[in-house]
């Protein structure tokens, strides 16, 4: 395994909660190179040959195992597009931890675009955690443009947790999902932007099979002069259930555009969207101040709770 420097280790901790080499299967990518890789009896990680990226094959019936594929970048000016494909066998039940941390102290932009495709077999269940984090004081931007495609077979279930709390200057996230009968998708997105950051998140979920269901919930905070756009579209093509929710706190001169979209192409499709944008209520601040917090501490508590 390639040795990671202190900054790379710190990024690894931020995006994947890793203090050391994880148990189970993993691939650690540092400055566009593999810093360590391990397959297990049930999970095989193979590098792609034509483009940059990995093929991750999880055998049917694999239970209680995990895959970590974190990416860290500390070299200013690095730009990369990485294609990772996950093939999850029937009845498997695994946790996949991705995530990307960029530290840019230079003047050139650093950019990582991760294209992740998930082929989820019948009755399989995955929990996917993706954290994005940026640091560094350089003028160069930290840019992340993830694309996530999810293809779910009958009765499969996918839980996705997408977190971007700090330091990413520009992000365009696109997620598309296709669900067969009885498949279930749950997305929890948490986002905070500050400074002049810009974050765009687009979801398109096709509920194609009877009994398919999706629940896409985004909670976000826009501070300073930052801009966010949340665009979530559910397409019901069968007797299905879908729910999207965008709940945002706006502060300072932040701006948020929520574009919920529902398309029902079947009379038994039940689709719901909710969207709410507002500043922190004065009464909430006063309540916490009567408990001894300053206005600023109260604000932090409210935001931390909201994004927890």
């Amino acid at each position: 395994m390639m040795k990671l420097d202190e900054m790379q280790k710190r990024l690894l901790l931020e995006v994947a909660d890793l203090h050391a080499v994880p148990e189970g299967a993993y691939n650690i990518r540092a400055n566009s190179q593999s810093a360590g890789r391990q397959s297990t009896a049930n999970i095989e990680i193979v590098p792609k040959t034509e483009v940059s990226g990995l093929e991750i094959r999880i055998k049917p019936g694999t239970k209680n195992e995990s895959v970590h594929i974190p990416v860290v970048m500390t070299q200013s000016g690095l730009k990369e597009v990485v294609y990772n494909d996950f093939f999850i066998g029937e009845g498997a039940d695994v946790v996949i931890v991705a995530g990307c941390g960029i530290d840019n102290c230079g003047n050139q932009d650093s950019q990582h675009d991760g294209i992740h495709r998930f082929y989820v077999g019948k009755g399989a269940h995955i929990r996917y955690v993706e954290k994005h984090y940026g640091s560094g004081s350089g003028a160069g931007k930290r840019i992340l443009n993830p694309v996530t495609e999810v293809y779910q077979e009958e009765g499969s279930s996918v839980e996705m947790e997408m977190v971007q709390i700090k330091g990413v200057d520009d992000t365009e996230r696109a997620t598309i999902a296709e669900l067969a009968a009885g498949a279930r998708l749950v997305v929890r997105e948490r986002l905070m932007t500050h400074g002049d950051q810009r974050a765009i998140s687009t979801y398109t979920v096709h509920l194609n099979g009877e009994g398919a269901s999706a629940d896409v919930v985004s909670r976000s905070v826009a501070r300073d002069h930052s801009y966010q756009k949340f665009d979530a579209k559910l397409v019901g093509n069968a007797a299905c259930n879908g729910h999207t929710e965008c709940d945002s706190i706006i502060m300072d001169q932040g701006r948020i555009l929520a574009v919920p979209g529902l398309e029902a192409n079947n009379v038994d499709a039940a689709l719901v969207h909710e969207a709410a944008i507002g500043k922190i209520a004065g009464e909430q601040l006063i309540k916490l101040m009567t408990l001894g917090l300053t206005e600023q501490e109260a604000e932090e508590q409210i935001i931390n709770g909201f994004l927890k």
């Binding site: 309540k287 916490l288 101040m289 009567t290 917090l293 508590q301 409210i302 931390n304 709770g305």
Partner: protein, 250 residues
């Protein structure tokens, strides 16, 4: 403990100055339970908010433990030992009951200690400690959680603004028990309750009647309460519950 000297409070109502509190002077000694009553619109809740620092008097001074706190903000007063229970508790998306109790107590209290505050207000702690303080809680549940957070503060002076509002009969019995307990446990501490509930008035050492922003009467429970029975300043439990559904006429 707490002294108000010539306190007045005006608001701008449609371009006209409206005086809510008119030149009130009061002294509340340490270790007493004072209930402030009076007809609706008499200024009771405003007085409570003036004490907590949520509103600032337009005239006069407020002293707490001998210090002039008139210019102090909400946070400073809270840190000096003033706790305030809201008439309509606030909801927070994401914050859990345990978080709020920890903030209130000012330290990382253990889960079992946090649970003990919930038990004191009649909530099964195990079911509530991890709950978000959001719209999934009923008004009565929120109210009891509000009171639990105030108990966790253990403040020198606790002000309850209409603690019975929005609470059901069973919770109401429990509420009386909470005040009796507080008295037992914290003999040197002071409690002010804004209420026109006869049973809450019965727990008082001292009663103050506010009418039209002025003190209409002040004295021991024995002296003041008999004169209030049957008026809107001392409502019986059943009538009070009727009034929740609009059944009482002022």
């Amino acid at each position: 403990m707490l002294e108000l000297r010539n306190v007045s409070f005006q608001v701008d109502a449609d371009g006209q100055d409206k005086e809510i509190i008119r030149d009130i002077s009061l002294k509340l000694p340490e270790g007493r339970l004072t209930v402030i009553t009076g007809p609706n619109g008499g200024g009771k809740s405003t007085l409570a908010r003036l004490i907590a620092g949520i509103e600032k008097p337009t005239d006069g001074q407020i002293f707490f433990r001998g210090e002039d706190i008139t210019s102090w903000g909400v946070t400073e007063r809270a840190r000096a030992g003033i706790a305030f229970a809201f008439q309509q508790p606030v909801r927070f998306k994401g914050l859990q009951v345990l978080d709020l109790i920890r903030i209130a107590s000012g330290r990382q209290v253990s889960v079992s200690e946090a649970c003990s505050y919930l038990s004191r207000v009649g909530l099964c702690a195990r079911d509530y400690i991890g709950r978000e303080i959001n719209a999934s809680l009923s008004g009565g549940e929120l109210k009891r959680i509000e009171i639990a957070t105030v108990l966790a503060r253990g403040a020198a002076l606790t002000v309850f603004d209409e603690p019975e509002a929005g609470i059901d009969l069973w919770s109401f019995q429990n509420l009386i028990q909470v005040f009796t307990d507080m008295r037992e446990r914290m003999k040197e501490r002071s409690i002010i309750i804004i209420s026109h509930q006869e049973r809450i008035l019965n727990t008082a050492d001292e009663i103050i009647v506010l009418r039209d922003g002025r003190v209409a009467a002040q004295g021991s429970k024995e002296d003041v309460l008999p004169g209030l029975i049957g008026t809107t300043s001392a409502i019986g439990t059943c009538r009070a519950l009727d009034s929740e559904s609009g059944g009482i006429v002022e």
